[in-house]
Symmetry: C2
Subunit: 149 residues, 2 copies
DNA sequence: CAATATTCGTACGGTAGCAAACGATATGGA
DNA sequence: TCCATATCGTTTGCTACCGTACGAATATTG
């Protein structure tokens, strides 16, 4: 994608990047006062709504590689917001639990729903559905391609 | 975007991220044998097709912050693929030029157009146009929002 | 049961992005 | 002319991705 050729193909690729980065920028700005990164927020959100979870399962839910999540978990543990225990049948696994400190921080965080609302409100539902369908199809194709390369 | 609410809003946000990362993954895999990152590729591509350029102008063309491009330029200079000279009227500016070593590498690189083709070929042109329009609008809104936060 | 293969988490090194702060250089006014 | 202001590039420090390789633990298979 985005390799200097004309046509809608490249446009979609370029705008995909811009849109992703722009959304993250707003999220990062909203979370900056709390010293929290956007993916860290997702981890807390998942723990808040789903309770304790095995690290690997959280990685699958958030679509993060083990190495990526490992670093994020380490950061959150260092901040005292979550706890990483090895309590389970499978001794390889790590169970993640929110601490009371994490719960306290969570209560202070602003509601971030304004971001997607600002981005997509008022846009035709059919167009949004089309966009989702195109992006999903392209993603599936790219992920399949990645497995062959 | 992507904050755990239902509806097309969140879908678009989530797929935007997935699609961007999937495309980059394929590009990275294709460029890995050449020890070249995707953004480094864009810099070389821009220099190859547009000739020498002032660093700041390249940053605007690629939509990168000065700090981001500064690091990428340093990497490419370290690899001997580009040259950074201060030849100009404005002594603050740096002019970027491809080296012969960079030209040689460029000739070895594969054509990456297969990536966007694999992603988007066969998809209805109107749907691609809709997707581009939605993503552009959302991006503009998010960038405007970022300026107020 | 022993050997092999898989999986989980981590460490390391790399790419890519940003904000903030700084020195050097232009530029515009007073 | 001189000072305030803006701009360019860099540095520092951070988030967040990935692949590879490794040890430990579990599964599977012979």
């Amino acid at each position: 994608m985005r390799h200097g050729q004309d046509g809608e193909h490249v446009s979609v690729g370029a705008w995909t990047k811009r849109c992703y980065l722009a959304g993250r920028a707003v999220m990062d700005a909203a979370l900056r006062p709390f010293d929290l990164g956007s993916t860290q927020w997702y981890v807390l959100w998942h723990l808040k709504s789903g309770g304790p979870i095995v690290q690997r399962d959280l990685g699958r839910a958030l679509e993060l590689e083990r190495a990526t999540l490992s670093g994020i978990v380490a950061t959150l543990v260092r901040k005292g917001l979550i706890e990483q225990t090895s309590g389970g049948e499978d001794q390889r696994q790590r169970l993640l639990t929110m601490t009371s400190s994490g719960e306290a921080l969570w209560r202070q965080l602003p509601d971030l729903s304004f971001i997607s609302q600002a981005a997509f409100d008022g846009i035709d539902e059919a167009d949004l559905a089309t966009t989702t369908r195109v992006l999903r199809l392209a993603t599936e194709r790219l992920q399949a391609l990645a497995r062959t390369v």
